[in-house]
Amino acid sequence: MNINSFIHKKQYEKIVRVARRHPITFVKIIIFFILLLAIPFILFRLGEQLFPNLMHDEHLINDTIFFILFILAGCAYLLSVIIFFYAFFIDFYLDEMIITNDRMVDMEQNGLLARTVAEADLYLIQDVTSEIKGLFGSIFKYGKVSIQTAGAVPKFVIEDVPDPHGLRKLLLDLASEDKKFHAGQK
């Protein structure tokens, strides 16, 4: 499936921008999961330091059930961590807003098993607010954009989006164009 069929793009519609979270906001998740992945190796090194005789006992390493279970549990732990990392990535990556010259489609992934998709015509936009907060937000220029509409979904919010002020301006320009188009149709 491509993005055009996902949003059921109309013939006259053109995708202007796909806004996602800034990649830098995913770095803290990567660091957290690297630490989680390192735990079994840190414990093994710690065990070597604290119990050198136990950890280098050939009989214990090669022949005991304890060792076999440790390897199975260690593998299950590492796979669980990497799969949860993937789930976090899906949650991060599928929070997006597709902006066309006619409407905006806001998709929000909540965990791995819940997703909300909302859309509103651009001419229904009443107010757009952009906000950059915090040290990293100021350095990497990402922040929040809140869109107030007169539609069924009154407020759209996209967090950690790069260049929020530029996105606000883009949305207001497109909304203005769309309002002119709809006024001309009446």
């Binding site: 499936m1 069929s5 199975l72 299950a76 796979l79 990497i82 799969i83 899906i90 990556y93």
Partner: protein, 88 residues
């Protein structure tokens, strides 16, 4: 004394693998269903798949000579009985 064969733990491991693989497939299906097959998602999926492959290969490599039929003692009354080594 109660014992179970070692392969019971292997089956538990396979059960955990099955659950994790369901999560993995759900993740990939979300990427496909929402038209998010981009270079970034490809790189992350490739990295995750490689990590899974290396972990499973490493585990198989370490445990390939294991005799899975051997019994594992899970309960023994002697564990709660008198233990002379501490009284000496």
């Amino acid at each position: 004394m109660a014992t179970i064969p070692l392969y019971i733990f292997l089956f538990i491991f396979f059960g955990a693998l099955l659950i994790l693989s369901i999560f993995y497939i759900i993740g990939i299906s979300h990427l496909i269903a929402t038209a998010n097959l981009t270079f970034a998602s490809f790189i992350i999926t490739l990295a995750v798949s490689t990590f899974i492959g290396v972990s499973l290969y490493g585990t198989w490599n370490i445990l390939r000579d294991t005799n899975w039929q051997r019994p594992v003692k899970i309960f023994d009354m002697a564990w709660f009985g008198n233990n002379n080594q501490f009284s000496e």
